[in-house]
Symmetry: C2
Subunit: 417 residues, 2 copies
């Protein structure tokens, strides 16, 4: 999958270690859960640490069921400062009576190994819900994890946060802030079609840019809305979703303190990171074979456009049709029609495109004649774009999703064992 | 599947012909659509007609895209009166530029053959969206369809309205209204997991009870809310959904004109009809192997209970887990947690039951220990009940759904051809 670029950023290597001053590591500490046939064969514990304390911001799941690590992290970054992130996969540490104590213990162990303050540690967990988290493997693994930290350890850390992900997802950019070259990198875990309880979306971003805690939080809030929140969630909002950013300020730019050009440049860098991570997540949806991008334009507001684009992207019928490579325009109209937003269906046009071409599927609320051969050629591709024009204004939005496949059912029919 | 009985009704045979004075028929007139390999091998055109004009009421889809037949039917039963229903499957007559003319033509043809008024005809269509409806097969078949009408033709009519349904769905009851024995019967088409654009839920109900148009409409509105609208719709609200009732008044009961005991008895009969049709629809969900009933109690209102029950029933992760017979309590908490309603997750208890037994999966927001063997035995059954208690009041609701299977993807990956 190629990265998509908006504005002036340059893609670079290194993920969360791209910005100088961040070390990372991942190990297999041997977390497991009841009913699992084997201890996981991949890394399951990750650590990211900055050379000095950073400005920090985070966004969390809106699910009423919140993973214990979220509660602890919220407490720890209340002051807008943090220095390290400890994350485990395999076990979500959620819906457990002793979840908070265990999340606190993870922070304590990391802080001790790193000789930093406990409340400078961000903690996250992803995996099965409702299984008591064994702290012993984490305690035992911590010295090795800390000793192995390195300025190019991003891949080891990334492996440790993956669950049903079939591909690693990381990205980094270089951008200019007040004449100063800055770097920003991120990694994400999550299988996009859905945010399942075991495939939580965790995203960790590091940058050497200098920005105030308030504006860092604002940039993150703004960007989450139009990237991660635009990936088809299918209602299944995870209990453990978390996105956090650490900004070290080491690049030496003038601190971004107001919504000026520098803030825009910072937001643009963050958008490039998170939009591409979102696209990777959708493409790697559980069992997915295709990335679908739904672009809605001509809406009376961006909100209307978002509701329509998400309605299409989350329709199981639409998703199954994309898997079947069947240009059933009626299903798209159907999904547009039940979107809870205000527009006239008689004004709605629908096109489908891919690298193989573009055709009209519907005009003014009616399905039009099109060549089934052209449609089949377009839908054979791995990246499909659906364009929906509401003919009503200048509002627009993009949402990302994937197809619904046999493998989705297989993966989710029996996740625990 | 056994019918479930609430209050004092008696199940009888005959479907839409159970109440005296209603004839029905179904034929294969040869509707087809572009891309279909063959003309359908089953009946595709149905007619139901009452001996005299009836009181009529209907409820329609809320999708902005409305099938042309819905627009015509609305016009025809504005006066609260109707006498016949003409329905075709295979083609939904929706998103077509000439849809309304075609729907009107169907009414005209039926009225002519039956020698009744055109605006006493209710019209419905179900099938593929966005294909022009060929009127010739309907015109040619109408004489045969009308001639073959009989007081026991319910099964032939029922076959004609089915699309991806794998089992016919009809039911009838006897009940007492003001000392007078009345009958009511209904048939439904629809594959429950989703209301797909091609598997519209059409429901036709007939009764010999005497009731005013206003109260008939009220009873239908009330009952749809707690039956058909409680089947997992997964967002995919069809463009052609329609439920209609014809009440002939031939039973000779005192006309139901106000919300008294008789109205309650009438509503109870209607509830028994529609609740069982809803359960059949869920059980026959596309590709489904199990019926899932989610009962939410202890809510601050019935509305809250409904939101929670539907949130569980529509979760793809939950559905895939039911298919996999995997008691993943965390997924149920997750779906409860993202329900957009007001309650404390710390008060939520979860049980699962089936004819094989009942076990606790969660207490006060935490997953509890349970025997995996017991859970497996319970989940092996074909009818599964999930009980969710919010510990917050006396509001309750039931919702019905099914599992998400490989066959769902298969059926919907390539429906048109």
């Amino acid at each position: 999958m190629e990265f998509r670029k908006i504005g002036s950023v340059k893609f670079i290597e290194g993920g969360v270690c791209a910005a100088g001053g961040f070390r990372a590591n991942g190990i297999q500490c041997g977390l497991t859960h009841e009913g699992a046939a084997l201890t996981t064969k991949k890394n399951d514990l990750a650590l990211i640490v900055a050379d000095d304390e950073c400005t920090a911001a985070a966004v969390y799941t809106t699910n009423k069921v919140k993973g214990a690590p979220i509660i602890v992290t919220k407490q720890h970054i209340k002051d807008g400062r943090a220095r390290a992130v400890i994350v485990n996969s395999v076990n979500a540490n959620t819906c457990n009576p002793d979840g908070i104590e265990k999340a606190q213990a993870m922070c304590r162990l990391a802080a001790k190994a790193l000789k930093i303050k406990e409340d400078d540690v961000i903690v996250a967990s992803t995996g099965v819900i409702g299984q008591v988290l064994p702290i012993e493997p984490i305690e035992k693994g911590m010295p090795e994890l800390a000793e192995g930290l390195s300025y190019d350890g991003n891949s080891r850390a990334l492996e440790a946060i993956m669950t049903t992900d079939t591909m690693p997802k990381e990205i980094a950019v270089e951008f200019v802030l007040g004449g100063q070259v800055c770097k920003m990198g991120g990694m994400l875990k999550g299988s996009g079609m859905i945010h399942p309880n075991m495939a939580t979306t965790l995203t960790f971003i590091t940058t050497d840019a200098d920005i105030s805690p308030e504006l860092l939080q604002r940039a993150l809030d703004d960007t989450v809305k139009v990237t991660l929140n635009r990936v088809s969630v299918d209602g299944d909002t995870s209990t453990n979703d978390m996105v956090c950013v650490l900004a070290s300020g080491k690049a030496g730019n003038k601190t971004v303190k107001k919504e000026d050009e520098d803030f825009e440049a910072f937001e643009n860098a963050l958008y490039n990171i998170m939009m591409n991570l979102a696209r990777m997540m959708a493409r790697d949806g559980e069992g997915a074979t295709k990335l679908v991008e739904c672009v809605c334009t001509g809406a009376d507001s961006d909100k209307t456009a978002e509701i329509v684009a998400k309605s299409v992207i989350t329709s199981n019928l639409f998703k199954a049709m994309i898997f079947g490579q069947d240009a059933n325009a009626g299903r798209i109209y159907c999904a547009v029609g039940y979107a809870q937003a205000d527009f006239d269906i008689e004004d709605v046009d629908i096109d489908v495109s891919s690298p193989a071409g573009k055709i009209a599927l519907g005009r003014q609320g009616n399905v039009v004649r099109f060549s089934e051969e052209d449609a089949a050629r377009i839908l054979e591709e791995e990246e499909i774009q659906i364009n929906i024009s509401l003919g009503d204004g200048t509002g627009s939005a993009v949402a990302w999703g994937c197809d619904l496949t046999y493998d989705y059912v297989k993966i989710n029919g029996d996740y625990r064992s």
